[in-house]
Every structure is written in C-alpha cells, then in structure tokens.
Symmetry: C2
Subunit: 313 residues, 2 copies
C-alpha cells in the first residue's frame, strides 16, 4: 500500500489550511495512513501529522509491539506513552497549536479535553473522502474478502437443510469464512428467517427454519483490513408465491441498478433506478432504506447510495 | 429487565439538573434503557427523555419494526422518521431547549449540528455509571455468555491438535459458541501463537501452531445483549520452561487478585495486588496494561481495574 502518498495528501491539507498539524484517532483511518493493525472498536492510538513533515503514532505499551512490527516505515515515528499516560496527554506535549481533527470520529469528551490546550479545526471528512476511491491493492483485498464469503456460502449450502436453526446456519458459513482466510468478520452476521426476515439487523437465534420460509443472510469477511458485505435471500424448499414475486422484483431492481452504475452517477440517481423499478411493482413503500453504501476498511463508508447520496469526490 | 426503573433515574437526573430533556445515541445505552436490539457499530436511533416524563425512541424505517416488536412497553413512544429524515432532524422538532447528552458517545459533528438549536449539557457518564452495577438478570445473561464460551472451548479442545492454524482454532471454538446459544461474538476473536502471542490484539492468521509454543485465545460470546470476555493461554505439547514459569507467575497474580476482590476496593488497589506479585517475579515491566475492566453490554466498560481505576460508583 502506498501509505506514504496518502500521508502526503494530509501534509498538503495541513499546509493549505494553515494548520500546525492534524490528528486521527479512528483505528480505521490510522490503518489507512500507516498500516497499523486494529481490532474493531478498540481505541487509544493517535496518529499525529506535524506541519514540519513528521507523522507519529502515539500508542500505549499494550499495542506498541504490534505497531512496531507492522508499521515498517522509517518515515513514521512510533511513540510509546509512559505507563499510565494516555495518548491524548502525550499528544498535548508534542502537538502544535492549530490542529485539524476528524469531526465525525472525535467524541465531545475528547474534543473538550483537547481544546483546553489546542485550537481544533474540523478536517471536513478529509480521510473519509480519500477512502471513497480505492486503489488496486484495496480492490484486491475487497475482492478476496468477497470471494471468501461467496465460497463459504456456496460450500455451506451443501450442508444446509430445512429445520436448522438460524444460529446453525450462521456457524456453518462463518467457520468456512475463517478457514478460507477471513481474519475476522466484517460485522455481526445476520441470519433471519420467516417473519423475522423483516428485520434487516436480525441476529441469528435458535428459531428453526421452516418449509416455505425465506431466510435473509447478511455476511462479510475481513481480509488484510478490508471488508466485504453480502446479503442473500434463501428459501427453504419451495417459496410461497408472494415471496417469489417480491424476490423477483428486488432482483430486477438490483440488476437494473448494477447496469446503471457508472462513473459520474450520483448515489441519489442510482438509488432512484432501483426505487423506480420497485415502484412499478407497487413495492416502493416497503423500500424504506437506501440502496447501498461504500465498503472498505469500514463495512459502511462513503459514498452513500441513497436518496441523500451525492457524487463520489 | 426493569427498564422503567432505569428510565426513572434519568428522569430524576433531568429534573435535578434543571434540564428540559436528555438524549442517548449509543445503541448500548438505548438497549440498557429500553431493550431495543442493536447490531454492534450500528447507529441512527435516538432515545429522548422529555422532562414531562415521556421517553421516545426515534428510529428510521430500517429498524422500526424490530424496535416495535422488542420494545413492548406502553411508556416508550416509538417515532418513525419520515423517509430521508435523520433521527437528529426529528429530534430538533420535538426536543426542549436544554438537553443532556452522552459526552463520550456524541461525536463533535453531531454536537455541532445539535448545538445550533439546542443548549447541550454533558450528562457526566450518567448511563455508564449506572451500568457499572449489574442487577440479577444482567448477571444471569453474563454468566450464560461466559458459560457458553467456556463450554465451547472445552469441547473444541477435544479436536485441537498441534499444527492447526490460528484461524482453524478460532473457527473450532466460535462455531460451538454459536450452536451453544451465542447470538454473536462479544468482540473479534483473538488467537495468537508463538512469537505472535505477544500481541494482545493479534487476530487469527494462517500461521500453524508448533510444538512448545504458547497460544493466546481471547474470546467472548454475547447473550441477550450481554458480553463475556475470556482469555486463556494454551500450550502445544510441552511448554518451554520459560513459558511455564511466566504462566505460573501470571496465574498466581490472577489468583491473588481474585481473592482480594471485594466490595469497596478500588480498581487501582486490585491492579496493585497483581502488579505486586509480578514484581516479585521480576516481570513487572512486561505488565504494561491494566489488570481488567468491567464487562456488560459493552465488552469494555466502567470500572477500570488499572493504575487509574477508581471506586465503583
């Protein structure tokens, strides 16, 4: 990955905006700029860009060795905090005065703590906008993650039978994702059957799947930091006619949207293609969410493909 | 769960602090006060407490049905946003003027958006402090989650052999967690062997475990919203003497800390017990993190059992 080139863009933004530096606290953005590994939801590292041209990762002893081993780059300084010292405390000792920050990631608490000594300026989604456009290696990892999820589902289909519980179905797919090379799951797997299939975020339960029911699976692998996100609808035996009809309408809307997807189209326009098809079928009022979203280091990232979605920057 | 009693404490805080209302945006806190289900990392719902005594969940169409089905409580109003309307937009239409908010959860962006119309006051960790002390049902769920993780590991041990990859080990335990009743994993499973075992957040790779190596497993189940968090060290075959010695020292430190744990002790004191034992062995400088942390709806929650950890409120 060309981390250095990505960091240069931040240094340029710091320069152009007249800042003394910039910080990133989201593990995903720190990974994007340096390759420092992370566990989803873990926090505590800070990446500091100084206008003088130094990038520094401030990390506690807990993750120090892992950062040291993975960020194999002389142009990134790795600073271990003193025992009991928080990265935000150390930051204050090394940072300039006027500092850019991730306004969508930094909590009010951290903002309030830092602003006592620093003049904080929102970076206006700088990293998130950069991450919208993927390079070749990023695409390769995402394709690998998707390929693993697809193969895992295909293999699992051989052993899925009606009467299995949602949890059993999830476990059959997940264990194959792991063995095929997923370093983790991109998000909590969703398996919801029968009436529960109306829950887009339904977690797998001990409910048994029954003849004629639909089963929604929403699954993703993570490979070298990058996510896939795949939703599939299965039927147990022969689907009821109404389910089949809805399925066909949704499949048609999806196909048309895929055909319409091209450079320069906005998220709103693409969402409108699918929405238009579902309107023809009279199902529009059941389509109460956006058509899609970007995927990458986060499973949901910019751009949004929805009635609010703008153009990719 | 006595959600109503929890909510009454918030209404009291609103009253005592002279607020017109309070909001919660973290899915974990909304679950704590209402039982509304969530997928880790998903956002978008807002729980609004009005000083008049009404609690309202503002939710988009996406999760509306699930909230409606799970929050079976006449004293919670469930408000579906208009299509394309964000919960934070709707909030502004119904909220009073002076509103308490979760300063650790609300991002600067959301804070900045809301403060244009509302006078925002930090709630000073109100929910997080309440969540430190568990009731009987919470303990039951956490014990069940831990029991599932333990049983899954015990059963998996029968089929674990040297030469398996870290990923295979993870998959053997995880699939049993699912089948035994975990609705999801409390966090991304950690399996790190050999030299990689120095990474406290090492994700399972295709590295094969070798004779004499130690293998760190850090695993957790989630049951009805509540997490367990279990770390275990295994050895492949006969451990090298140095590994055995370190293991024994850590086990002794853990045992002494468990014995010392009692009502009224601070996190700092308890951490000091374990730290003292490791000091006797000369390993203190390798203990670069805290001894432990609270567990609950989040896998890491207050109180902290570390050199910085205070008393449970």
């Amino acid at each position: 990955m060309d981390y250095k080139r990505r960091r240069e863009r931040v240094f340029r933004a710091v320069e152009e905006r007249g800042l003394d530096g910039a910080i990133f606290i989201s593990p995903e953005n720190i990974f994007y700029f340096t390759g420092a590994p992370f566990v989803k939801g873990s926090v505590g590292k800070i990446l500091y860009f100084d206008r003088g041209g130094t990038a520094s990762i401030i990390v506690t002893d807990l993750d120090y060795q892992e950062v040291l081993d993975f960020v194999d780059d002389d142009s990134v300084e790795i600073i271990k905090t003193e025992f009991g010292e928080r990265p935000s405390e150390r930051l204050k000792k090394i940072a300039g005065r006027k500092i850019g920050f991730e306004e969508q990631q930094v909590s009010y608490s951290l903002y309030d703590y830092l602003r006592k000594d620093l003049e904080l300026k929102p970076l206006d989604g700088l990293a998130e906008k950069m991450r919208e456009v993927k390079d070749g290696e990023e695409l390769r990892r995402m394709e690998e993650a998707q390929s693993i999820t697809e193969r895992a589902l295909e293999e699992a289909l051989q052993s899925l039978v009606g009467g299995m519980t949602e949890a059993e179905i999830a476990s059959e797919v997940e264990r194959r994702m792991r063995v095929l090379g997923a370093e983790s799951y991109a998000f909590e797997s969703i398996v919801a059957s029968g009436e529960r299939a109306v829950y887009p975020h339904g977690k797998p339960t001990r409910k048994r799947t029954e003849e004629g029911e639909s089963v929604i699976l929403d699954l993703g692998s993570r490979v070298e930091g990058y996510c896939s996100d795949m939703t599939r609808t299965l039927f147990v035996g022969r689907p009821k006619k109404v389910l089949r009809d809805v399925y066909d309408a949704v499949a048609q809307a999806q196909d048309e949207a895929i055909k319409a997807a091209k450079e320069g189209i906005t998220g709103k326009e693409l969402d409108g293609v699918a929405r238009g098809i579902l309107k023809e079928f009279g199902y529009e009022r059941y389509f109460g969410h956006g058509l899609g979203h970007g995927v990458g280091i986060d499973v949901h990232e910019s751009p949004s493909v929805s009635p609010r979605g703008g153009k990719v920057s």
